[in-house]
């Protein structure tokens, strides 16, 4: 039997309205400071991103969830891996929950998708990742900050500088994931390495989600490369590192990667012994042996019974930035310019080391030379060298003249 179409449409509209209006009524105007969190809690980054949220929660718990005498309320939204969904969610946070400030999102594509929106609404957003250089350049916003690093320059500049200047390598075969960040990283590496006088002999791009890295590692031309450089993450990183080992590449050529990528935990833990001895340059290591980091690692272990990763630390630092800035303006975000000024003047000790924002809205920080080691049966990135005060635009001294500052 047939149901009249208009009836169904009317019912649908009515039902939807009730649901929507019902949802709306949960909001209330009150004293707590509302902080929205955009995290990729479904999809391939879900577990890492849960870690990031844990880091944020830890930071707020350290101040008893109170800033300037007001309770802090975290409203966590799952933005998946979809830029469109992220835009929808930030609108929800701002227009319905009336958040004072947003932490996140993770992916640069998501950050770019919401950039115009937060800029227009002067909504202060502190991303715990979004490492694309675009956020310092064409897509910069006065209201957008990040606690991470700058793809292609920091720490990637050191993944070219250390092999060239310290190790004396002159030729490199490069492998990166075939998406914007991969190209940014590869271009950044090339700029520094070739600027210094080195030669990139191969540029190999693999699509994200490549099931089989056999053909990619077999392509590496070992005759013409002093070392292999790479930027991959997630399952791709695991398969790639495994393949390097199993196909005998690792045994024949040096490996030096960029940080926060190929041999970063938790991927590192899945890679197992195949990753042993691989060096890279990064701005953090969970194995960093400083009082600040040891305390942070211990706190995460106690609270969540998990090992912190770079995501956890990024989340923690983003939340610290928010707390410090809000404290400075006494919790008042009605004029967004005040917290922006406070954020720009931040200078504090993070688990990764000292952080300041003297060159744009991305931290100036240490970069570490790391090597994968096994300690107590567990793989870690042991720090074997420190480069202090590295800005997001860092270039080796030899190249600074050419850049013209």
């Amino acid at each position: 039997m047939k149901v009249s179409l208009p009836l169904m449409l009317a019912l649908a509209a009515l039902a939807a309205t009730l649901v929507l209006v019902g949802c709306q009524s949960t909001q209330e105007a009150g004293p707590p400071i509302r902080i929205g969190v955009l995290a990729s809690l479904t999809g391939s980054l879900a577990t890492n991103e849960e870690g990031a949220v844990h880091g944020m929660e830890l930071a707020f718990s350290e101040v008893n969830n109170e800033v300037a005498g007001r309770t802090v309320q975290l409203i966590v939204e799952d933005a998946g891996l979809d830029p469109g969904l992220c835009l929808t969610k930030v609108q929800k946070l701002y227009e319905m929950d009336h958040v004072d400030l947003v932490l996140g999102p993770c992916l640069s594509s998501q950050g770019l998708a919401i950039r115009d929106y937060i800029d227009r609404n002067k909504l202060i957003t502190i991303s715990h990742f979004c490492s694309s250089p675009a956020f310092l350049e064409e897509s910069a916003s006065r209201y957008f900050f990040r606690s991470s690093h700058n793809s292609g320059r920091q720490p990637t500049g050191h993944s070219a500088y250390i092999p060239y200047a310290v190790k004396g390598y002159r030729t490199a075969a490069c492998v990166a994931l075939d998406y914007k960040a991969g190209h940014d990283e590869m271009d950044g590496f090339k700029q520094v390495f070739e600027g210094l006088g080195g030669n990139v002999t191969q540029e190999i791009y693999a699509p994200i989600g490549t099931a089989d890295y056999g053909p990619y590692v077999a392509r590496i031309d070992l005759e013409n490369a002093d070392f292999v450089w790479s930027f991959l993450w997630g399952d791709d990183a695991v398969r790639f590192v495994k393949a390097l080992d199993q196909y005998g590449i690792k045994q024949r050529v040096a490996l030096f990667f960029t940080g926060a990528a190929t041999v970063e935990p938790p991927d590192l833990w899945a890679e197992g012994d195949s990753a042993l001895g691989i060096e890279d340059a990064s701005h953090y290591s969970p194995a960093l042996n400083t009082p600040a980091n040891n305390a942070f690692v211990q706190a995460i272990r106690d609270r969540y019974h998990e090992e912190p990763t770079i995501y956890t630390e990024h989340g923690y630092v983003a939340a610290r930035m928010a707390i410090l800035a809000l404290q400075k303006v006494n919790g008042n975000t009605s004029d967004p310019e005040a917290p922006v000024a406070a954020l720009e003047g931040l200078n504090f000790e993070a688990p990764r080391g000292p952080i300041k924002f003297d060159q744009g809205h991305s931290p100036t920080q240490n970069v570490y030379h790391r090597v994968v080691e096994k300690v107590d049966g567990k793989l870690q990135n042991t720090v074997i060298g420190v480069y202090n005060d590295i800005g997001p635009y860092w270039l080796p001294p030899e190249l600074r003249q050419a850049e013209g500052g």
């Binding site: 999809g43 190999i204 791009y205 199993q246 991927d267």
Partner: protein, 284 residues
């Protein structure tokens, strides 16, 4: 110019990958042939098999146990799905849509249970090394996968060609009269075929885990590749599944080696060519 040894590496790698695809495509062929359904959760079976295998393998350190657990778990799941759900559905379209719902359920349960971080299973100690090929090396484990795949292919071929049970598979879906004539309960055959396909997918999931890792994107990814294999191989026969797997596995790896920028695309280009010029597949 690539050296011969590089090509050998890629070729062997492609064959090993083909064998994983074959284990899946063979199950799909059996289900399509006997039950006339396509199990959209077949990629999910593969994924879940990998997760279970890793969970058991990491805890016990016993690879054989991991393989058995993966096969067993997916076998039981498939059995239950067929026995308690598929059987009660009136048509095969409903059955397919049911398996689509299962894709979502298996995905989310796996996410809750194992999270989204990549996980890897170590091959057993006696297969852990690599053998030299010129200046390069090739993992022994992948060679073992090739051997295992070949054995399973042989076993399935024997099963389909030489057993009474296999006669039903050859006769095709709608020939219930024949099954009855042979004194075989067709319902039992359905359960058996669906379970067998599940066991094969679980097996593929576990033995694939040391190569491909186990993660939450595998369900659709593997299903897509297995379906492409079906289209290329002709959907009807175990031999077709084998040929399709080899074509897609080798095109995927060797093609990627020469033209990495066209990886994945090549696989679909082959499918499109087959569809345009041999719409019934390469075999039959």
């Amino acid at each position: 110019m690539p050296q011969a040894e590089q090509l050998a590496l890629v070729f062997l790698d492609g064959v090993a990958f083909s064998m994983l695809l074959f284990l899946l495509a063979a199950g799909l062929v059996l289900m399509l042939g006997v039950m006339n359904i396509v199990n959209l959760a077949h990629g999910s079976f593969y994924m879940l098999g990998g997760f279970v295998g890793i969970a058991v393998g990491v805890r016990t350190g016993d690879f054989a146990l991991a393989v058995l657990a993966g096969m067993g778990a997916i076998g039981v799941l498939a059995f239950a799905m067929e026995r308690f759900f598929l059987r009660r559905l009136p048509g095969n379209t409903e059955q397919v849509l049911f398996t689509l719902g299962c894709v979502y359920i298996i995905w989310d349960l796996s996410r809750i249970a194992w999270g989204s971080n990549p996980q890897l299973l170590s091959p057993p100690a006696f297969l852990a090394g690599s053998v030299p090929i010129g200046d390069y090396r090739f993992p022994v484990y992948q060679l073992a996968v090739i051997v295992l795949g070949a054995l399973v292919a042989l076993g399935l071929w024997f099963f389909v060609q030489k057993t009474r049970f296999g006669a039903i598979v050859r006769a095709g879906a709608d020939d219930r009269e024949m099954a009855a004539g042979l004194g075989i309960d067709i319902k039992l055959v359905f359960t058996a075929v669906f379970t067998l396909a599940g066991v094969l997918a679980g097996l593929a999931g576990v033995i694939g885990a040391p190569i491909l890792t186990a993660n939450l994107t595998l369900d659709w990814q593997i299903l897509t590749l297995a379906l492409v294999v079906m289209v290329v191989g002709g959907m009807r026969t175990i031999q077709g599944a084998l040929v399709g797997s080899l074509v897609i596995g080798l095109v995927g790896t060797v093609g990627t080696f020469f033209l990495p920028q066209l990886s994945m695309f090549l696989v679909f280009a082959i499918m499109a060519l087959v569809l345009a010029f041999r719409p019934r597949g390469l075999v039959r």
